[in-house]
């Protein structure tokens, strides 16, 4: 029972609302987890590495909100909704991401690096259109709103939690100039909410206030509606063979010169087929316009006014009633595509520029990152830089790595601003990694 509670707690912990931006730390250090979270072509400098929960593990959590900041919303002691609305984009996202290494083992033999492991992963994205909030705050009769075809598409919640069992290898060649690698992931889905389609439009005619609403919606879930139905071993690894999926990582690095390394990777390309409690809530494309009651309904029969209004409301509600359908469905894995260039400014200093495209339940996000790393000694290095998430939001990542003996410890954050300026921050993240390493290559003395 205690083990069950432990796994449920672990699952819930991993399901906490967290998420987001690209964790660039993996691209510029040599943590073991970078081999499946950064680039599968990466190889460690040790013969053996090991993560095993709870003593040693790699833990990433990130969260972000592309909409508004606390200071946008609160001025003085007053919540200023006008300012909030001004800060909203057409689509706004609450992004959460969490990865925990439950177990990982790596072996290196010559030019080949083998790895096997298991993560528990949680991704979530709640998206809301800025025009929806504007509509709710200002009302459809507001001069800023009336006469506009409000696009509220994209409204929806996406959530996925799964165990990720992986195996992979990388190998260097061409005198170690080129390294290629791949990982194969077997995924055991736990629960998901997937908004496949979400299109809603709302228009108020400025002349006669006629209301036109149209939309299409497809929400898919694999959830237990009654917690008592959840099997006791539901959240155990290898507990069932339902909700399975496969994905792949591919990567390569190329040492273009003594100073310049080029890196490319494509991570988590695949899908999960959900069968447990799998349902779809579908609204096929509908459109309805309501422009008022017939005069006869009001003039001739007083009782019918209320009835007519209720009938209209019922008709609209019926039109937008979701059709529940049972059946399996697939969710795409949240893939990432990363291009990076690492340039050595000297023996201790590196700069790195990265472009990444990240998928989050069919929504794409782009980011560019510039990082600087200084290796103060073989035991200690520091990374820091700037990231422009979605080319718009500035983040300041910073990380520290310690390598005392067989232990490697890394801590960092994707946005150090969040530590002291939360009222202006939109993103926060934390990175922690503690691994055991054996048979490390002796590092050359670092001289600047």
């Amino acid at each position: 029972m205690r083990v069950t509670v432990l796994f449920i707690a672990l699952f819930l912990l991993s399901s906490a609302w967290t998420f987001g931006q690209l964790n660039t730390i993996y691209l510029s250090n040599n943590e073991a987890a970078s081999q499946w979270r950064g680039n599968p072509a990466f190889q460690g400098k040790e013969k053996v590495f090991l993560y095993i929960l709870p003593a040693v593990s790699s833990f990433d959590i990130s969260a972000g909100h592309t909409g508004f900041t606390y200071n946008d919303a609160v001025q003085g002691k007053t919540v200023n909704f006008s300012s909030v609305i001004d800060g909203l984009k057409k689509k706004n996202h609450l992004l959460f991401e969490n990865r925990i290494s439950m177990f990982a083992l790596g072996l290196k033999a010559g030019k080949t690096q083998f790895r096997i492991g298991m993560d528990v992963a949680t991704d979530m994205r709640f998206s809301y259109p800025g025009e929806l909030i504007e509509l709710l705050w200002k009302g459809n009769g507001h001069p800023d709103v009336i006469g506009r075809n409000l696009d509220m598409s994209g409204l929806g919640l996406n959530f996925i939690s799964y165990y990720d069992y992986f195996i992979g290898l990388s190998r260097t060649m061409m005198d170690d100039k080129l390294a290629v690698g791949a990982n194969l992931h077997y995924m055991q889905g736990l629960e998901t909410i997937y908004t496949k389609t979400s299109e809603f439009y709302f228009y108020t005619d400025p002349n006669d206030y006629a209301l036109t609403a149209s939309g299409a919606f497809d929400l898919k879930t694999s959830l237990y509606s009654d917690t008592t139905d959840i099997p006791d071993d539901r959240y155990f690894p290898f507990s069932n063979s339902d909700n399975t999926g496969m994905s792949f990582d591919f990567g390569a690095t190329y040492k273009f010169s003594d100073r310049l390394d080029l890196q490319a990777s494509a991570l988590n390309i695949g899908s999960i087929n959900w069968t447990t409690q799998a349902k779809s809530f579908v609204l096929d494309g509908v459109s309805i316009t309501y422009d008022g009651l017939e005069l006869d309904d009001i003039y001739d029969q007083s009782d019918s006014v209320e009835t007519s209004l209720e009938n209209v409301a019922d008709s609209i509600a019926d039109l937008f009633e979701l059709d529940e359908r049972a059946g399996s469905f697939k969710t795409p894995s949240n893939a990432r595509y990363i291009l990076s260039a690492d340039y050595a400014l000297g023996a201790k200093n590196h700069v790195q520029f990265t472009y990444a495209h990240m998928r989050s339940f069919n929504q794409g996000f782009n980011t560019v990152v510039g990082m600087f790393r200084r290796d103060f000694s073989p035991l200690f290095s520091v990374q820091g830089g700037l990231q422009f998430f979605n080319f718009r939001h500035l983040l300041v990542p910073i990380a520290f790595q310690f390598n005392p003996g067989p232990v490697q410890l890394a801590v960092g954050t994707g946005n150090v601003v969040s530590a002291f300026g939360y009222k202006n921050m939109k993103f926060l993240s934390g990175h922690f990694s503690l691994s055991l390493r054996f048979g490390k290559q002796r590092s050359p003395r670092v001289d600047d």
């Binding site: 606390y70 002691k77 919540v79 200023n80 009302g139 006669d208 209301l211 007083s302 006014v305 209004l309």
Partner: protein, 558 residues
């Protein structure tokens, strides 16, 4: 007065739409601020002042819908190929049935016979005697005419009853002949009998007269009579001693006369009708204004299945404005002639007498918003006297004369400052308006009719005190809410006119409305350029599109 809780429900339902928005918004705000890591407990919120726009009414009214709202019209018809409309009011002015004109009461005639002393002596000595007599029987015709000549009657039913009662018990044989009464085979009616037909000296005979024909003789002063001829033979009854004097009495009755038709000449029958009326309900609630129709027609449609001509005169035709009581007579001097049905088997004679501008002052008669038109007629048959032979009058069992009236008002004219006023009972509760700052009503009309319309609503409390108006300026300050369509030189609308009217109702207005128990709706109608007396035509393809929406300005404390 009409109850109109409809508007109450309409507004209430509209304002309720704000509440779900508030709930959704609060959930979203709480969620977002939570995610933004703020401390909601310490924060103040600016007032939530959404503006909700709701469409209340959208109707496209055609000409029938519109006129139905200003009038309980009987019928609206298209009277030409272009679609010009006319209002018609139809009704039956009077009817004349056969019983009202001609009746045949039952006839009962008594007669007797006598013998002389010589005949009595002959009988007592065993000899026979003969008796002959002729008895005229007048048909008792009930008709309002001094001169009636019946040429023939085909009977549909009726009974002939003959009773002979012998006073002297002698043997009597013979026959009674009615030469003016023929059976269905065309033979004259002969009632023959022998002495043995008498029972205890009494003889009864009856004849069903269905299919029989009567041919009365008209020899003034005995009008329309038939003769009964008696030819009797008497023989001695040795048990009885005959004596001079009456030896029998008899009676003949003709009952339950029912005829298929009667030919003849019925004279100049005079009929005076009761006064009848037709109510024209258009602008029933009009209290003022000038209403001019270029053309107006009253058709008197007659259907005459009597075989005689009738002349109809007008005892009285007048209209009364029900609002003002002003009575306007129709100046119509002439009478009109109604032809009779030509033959017994032909169709009834149908004719139409038209009262229009050519023979009357009907323009003036209908101009002052008429409400009820009164008619009282008189009729005379055979106005030209007896028809020239071989023509005759006839009536049949189903003969009747119907005079129907049709008032035809082609909607072709102009109306100036027609004021219509109506009062509605209402009760509006604003319990749900606590979070509403004000309302802005917006009326959007696309008017394809050639008429402007202005309106004012006056709100009264339970004591009929005026507490507010929809538009500023008092009860007589009406606001244009429907602007006339543009007409061509024939008065036909060639383009509709759009007009938007808005009215904001603030908190004070809402409070006044809450105390309102009655609403006086005052409207004024003017046809296009009525001040220039331009005539317009109302065509059957006109439409009026009405859209009413409301903007609700909320003020909600979060």
């Amino acid at each position: 007065m009409r109850e109109s809780p409809a508007f109450k429900s309409l507004f209430l339902k509209s304002t309720l739409k704000i509440k779900p928005m508030k709930k959704i918004l609060l959930v979203c705000i709480s969620l977002l601020l939570f995610l933004a890591s703020c401390e909601p407990d310490e924060l103040e919120y600016e007032d939530y002042r959404p503006i909700v726009a709701v469409p209340l009414i959208h109707s496209i009214l055609d000409v029938y819908d519109v006129l139905e709202r200003v009038d309980s019209l009987n019928e609206l018809i298209v009277i030409d190929d272009d679609g010009l409309l006319a209002l018609t009011y139809q009704g039956k002015l009077f009817s004349l049935e056969l019983d009202d004109v001609l009746n045949f009461p039952n006839i009962s005639e008594s007669f007797n016979g006598s013998i002389t002393a010589g005949q009595a002596t002959s009988l007592n000595s065993g000899l026979n005697a003969t008796f002959s007599a002729s008895y005229p029987i007048e048909l008792n015709i009930d008709v309002e005419s001094s001169t009636v000549r019946i040429d023939s009657i085909l009977l549909e039913g009726g009974d002939l009853q003959l009773n002979i009662n012998l006073i002297q018990d002698e043997f009597v044989a013979g026959s009674l002949t009615i030469p003016g009464l023929f059976d269905a085979q065309g033979d004259p009616v002969i009632i023959a009998f022998v002495p043995s037909d008498f029972v205890n000296g009494v003889l009864n005979r009856s004849i069903n007269l269905a299919g029989y024909r009567l041919f009365p003789t008209y020899t003034p002063p005995n009008d329309n009579a038939i003769n009964l001829n008696a030819e009797l033979s008497l023989s001695d009854n040795t048990d009885n001693t005959a004596s001079a004097g009456q030896f029998f009495n008899a009676s003949l009755s003709l009952n339950n006369f029912n005829f298929s038709y009667v030919f003849g000449y019925f004279g100049q029958i005079a009929v005076n009708t009761d006064q009848d009326s037709v109510t024209i309900r258009i602008f029933e609630n009009a209290i003022d204004g000038y209403f001019h129709l270029e053309e107006a027609t009253i058709n008197l449609l007659t259907t005459n299945s009597f075989g005689l001509p009738v002349s109809v005169g007008f005892t009285n035709i007048s209209s009364i404005n029900l609002n003002t009581g002003v009575i306007t007579p129709l100046n119509l001097s002439e009478s009109f002639e109604i032809g009779g049905q030509e033959t017994i088997n032909s169709s009834p004679s149908i004719s139409n007498f038209v009262i229009d501008n050519n023979n009357s002052n009907i323009g003036d008669f209908l101009e002052p918003t008429p409400k009820t038109v009164f008619f009282q007629l008189n009729a005379t048959s055979n106005p030209d006297g007896e028809p020239i032979p071989p023509n005759t009058n006839f009536v049949a069992s189903g003969s009747r004369l119907d005079v129907d009236i049709e008032v035809l008002l082609p909607l072709f004219g102009y109306a100036q400052d027609i004021i219509i006023r109506d009062t509605l009972d209402t009760e509006i509760s604003f319990d749900d308006f606590d979070e509403v700052d004000s309302l802005e009503l917006k009326l959007f009309t696309i008017n394809g009719f050639p008429a402007d319309a202005e309106i004012q609503l006056t709100f009264l409390d339970e004591f009929d005190n005026v507490i507010d108006f929809l538009f500023e300026g008092g009860q007589n300050n009406l606001t244009l809410f429907m602007e006339s369509g543009i007409t061509n030189d024939q008065g036909i609308v060639i383009s509709s006119t759009e007009l938007i009217t808005t009215r904001t109702l603030d908190a004070v207005g809402a409070e006044n409305l809450e105390q309102t128990r009655k609403i006086i709706v005052t409207s004024r109608l003017n046809t296009f350029e009525s001040d220039l007396q331009n005539v317009v035509r109302f065509m059957d393809d006109y439409t009026l599109e009405v859209k009413l929406g409301v903007k609700i300005f909320g003020n909600i404390e979060l």
